[in-house]
Symmetry: C2
Subunit: 423 residues, 2 copies
């Protein structure tokens, strides 16, 4: 490719938005089971940066990681010493993961998309550390502990973008979270910009609900401006349900929600779960596996569960609690505060939890005045959504637009995210 290709001369200029652009997004989530890829066409309706953006999915697929890759990544993310050292295994995994991602070339070809037709790849990489709370760097250990040094908040995604750019021959953007963290933000969530751009309606309140391990919502009032958007973690989603099926059935998850559907709610257990203060704590807030895990489940079960009751009842109760925790956050922090009462409200769900019919039914029961469907109705297959994020953020970066929402992440200002390596 010429060093002054037509692609590049359009970057960071309004001209970038004058044509439809083909991009690929790559995502490797905390489950570390493989790379999700999405090839999309992005368009600005009026050919300007401020025009309404639309996204069209051309292909998507998941390529499972070889088991050796999963093991090496899990060790890095668990922050355990690997191979006796610190830098070498991380360097190897950082570059090695780019080689794994480069296999997307074959899958693209199979889907009829030539890699050379891509304007860019947006690659999230694999998070191996995310610590938006300040730590000390470079201080000296004095008589009274650590002194001096720099107060640092850090996040680290591996999967070398300059390497991937050369392996694919396509400009690759990675490292999307560091800029927001440097500006005092949490570096997450990034979904709200995507939700705002592609799900907002002039005459309907939208709540984008992601049912991953943790449940999080993006609240987009009817006709909202960007700064009206809020987003936060409501509490557990699949994490606690999975813990209950593992404990009582030895199964990794409740497939289709059938176990939950076979049980009944245990009132005392439900009451114990509802005592968790996180649920009613006002946003901004975020949570994770460190709170909603097997210990949490066992603590709530301790005085409430009787062996005489069917195990399905426990799973049902956890599922209903999960739905309640989401609904309670919507009732407390969206209805009457954020949502425009003139218009109806639609919840648009994505994430693995959408396949749990017991959870989805419970949500509908909790929020009867709202419509609940999935992003599939908006042309966004729930399984492709996260990979689509990073294709879209790459599109914004090359157009010189920010992708973080300071109202959501807490950053001091907007930033054009990522580090661009030319292919």
């Amino acid at each position: 490719m010429s060093p002054h290709s037509s692609f590049r001369s359009d970057w960071f200029s309004p001209a970038w938005f004058q044509k439809p652009r083909l991009l690929c997004g790559l995502m490797t989530g905390t489950s570390m089971d493989g790379v999700d890829a999405a090839v999309v066409e992005l368009t600005s309706a009026d050919g300007t940066p401020d025009g309404i953006h639309s996204i069209r999915l051309l292909a998507n697929f998941t390529k499972p990681f070889p088991s050796g890759v999963v093991e090496q990544l899990a060790q890095l993310a668990a922050n355990k010493p690997l191979g006796g050292g610190s830098s070498a295994p991380l360097s190897l995994a950082h570059t090695g993961l780019a080689s794994v991602y480069a296999d997307v070339r074959e899958v693209c070809a199979a889907a009829g998309v030539a890699v050379s037709s891509l304007a860019a790849v947006g690659s999230h990489g694999q998070t191996v550390w995310h610590q938006p709370k300040a730590e000390q760097f470079g201080g000296q250990v004095g008589g009274d502990g650590q002194i001096g040094g720099y107060s640092v908040r850090s996040t680290l995604q591996i999967g070398s973008a300059p390497t991937l750019a050369q392996l694919l021959g396509v400009t690759t953007i990675g490292d999307f979270r560091a800029a927001d963290v440097a500006l005092g933000g949490q570096g997450a969530p990034l979904a709200p910009m995507f939700d705002y751009q592609f799900l907002r309606k002039p005459d309907e309140n939208i709540i984008a609900l992601n049912l991953g391990g943790i449940a999080n919502i993006t609240v987009i009032p009817a006709g909202a401006a960007e700064q009206d958007v809020i987003a936060f973690d409501t509490g557990p989603s699949n994490l606690l349900i999975d813990a209950s099926t593992m404990k009582f059935f030895g199964k990794r998850y409740d497939s289709g929600g059938s176990i939950g559907q076979a049980g009944r709610v245990l009132t005392r257990f439900m009451d114990a779960l509802k005592e968790e203060p996180y649920i009613t704590q006002p946003p901004p807030k975020s949570t994770g596996r460190e709170l909603f895990n097997m210990e949490f489940l066992n603590a709530a079960l301790k005085f409430t569960y009787l062996d005489a009751q069917p195990a399905e009842d426990a799973v049902r109760t956890v599922t209903e609690f999960t739905a309640w925790s989401i609904a309670e956050n919507i009732r407390l922090f969206a209805v009457g505060k954020r949502l425009n009462a003139t218009f109806p409200t639609r919840i648009i769900a994505s994430g693995g939890g959408i396949h749990n019919a017991c959870l989805m039914d419970a949500l509908r029961h909790e929020l009867p005045a709202m419509t609940l469907d999935t992003t599939a109705t908006q042309g966004i297959p729930p399984d492709a959504k996260e990979a689509m994020f990073f294709a879209y953020f790459a599109y914004r970066t090359l157009g010189g637009l920010h992708s973080n929402m300071p109202s959501v992440t807490g950053a001091s200002k907007e930033a054009v995210l990522g580090a661009i390596s030319l292919g």
Copy 2:
């Protein structure tokens, strides 16, 4: 700054070369003693990418690292477990180092250079791992050892560029070596592109000689084209001299070369040193501390050094051996093969070794037909040279030009180096 600033619309386009550009380069070398910074103005003589580039140093300085930073970096680079984990300390140092680099803001201000006037910062970062030999990633351990997986060659420089870009508010380019490694190159040396651009002459053969821990040369025949340039490590420079002053005098280096100047050459010791086969091995070749260290010195001394001889003689001999090893490489692999016999040859030295008068005199004695001076005569203070590299490579990257030389690194092709984070 506007998302469509005039700077950005010139990137990757010939327009980038139409105006002088102000850039800052940051370098942290293997000595890990601090950050070297250089602020330069870059210009293309005829305003095109192919014009003769010139570089003018406006300010340079070294900011020593706080001792706590040195310790944490040394542990990472030594590949020792740090704080019991692998990802967290590396993430902290990666981001923390960007905070350290951001102090350049104050030093720039003191030098009368407003950070906001910089078009970009080029930051090498701190190398914590460099392994251009293939390792296995993601394979499974089978009965016969590691099977499957990916063959990976990796390099890792820390000092988060997206973080630095936000802290300074200036576009920052980092990660300059990964692309060349991904293309099968060694990711080093990068100096030859700089040497070629700023030291070449139509009517003089130029040998750029860097006297760091290791000595390396860039050979630029009179009137050479880019692909005529070769570069390689000739063997030890300061490493072995420093080892000898440490062993015999407890000093970290021979200040000014005065110890060496007080001694005489020990012939049997010299002969033992000259037996090292690396010196006469044909290029391409590279070496390091793993060969030229205290053990190497002790092995050569074993049967040759008598306590009755003055210790200064040992230092003198090592210094003369160092000069001989450089000269021998020039005689074997440049004279008569690369250099144009019609024109004279000038050696232009940089690196800490230029301050060792004993070494410089020995070089002049070894190569009487050549002129020896330092980069200072070319407007490039030897102490600022490496930081100037990364200002220049950032300039090339934003102009869409490659900075690696495949004839030198062994990469399969040229690449626009680095990852660009917008400030």
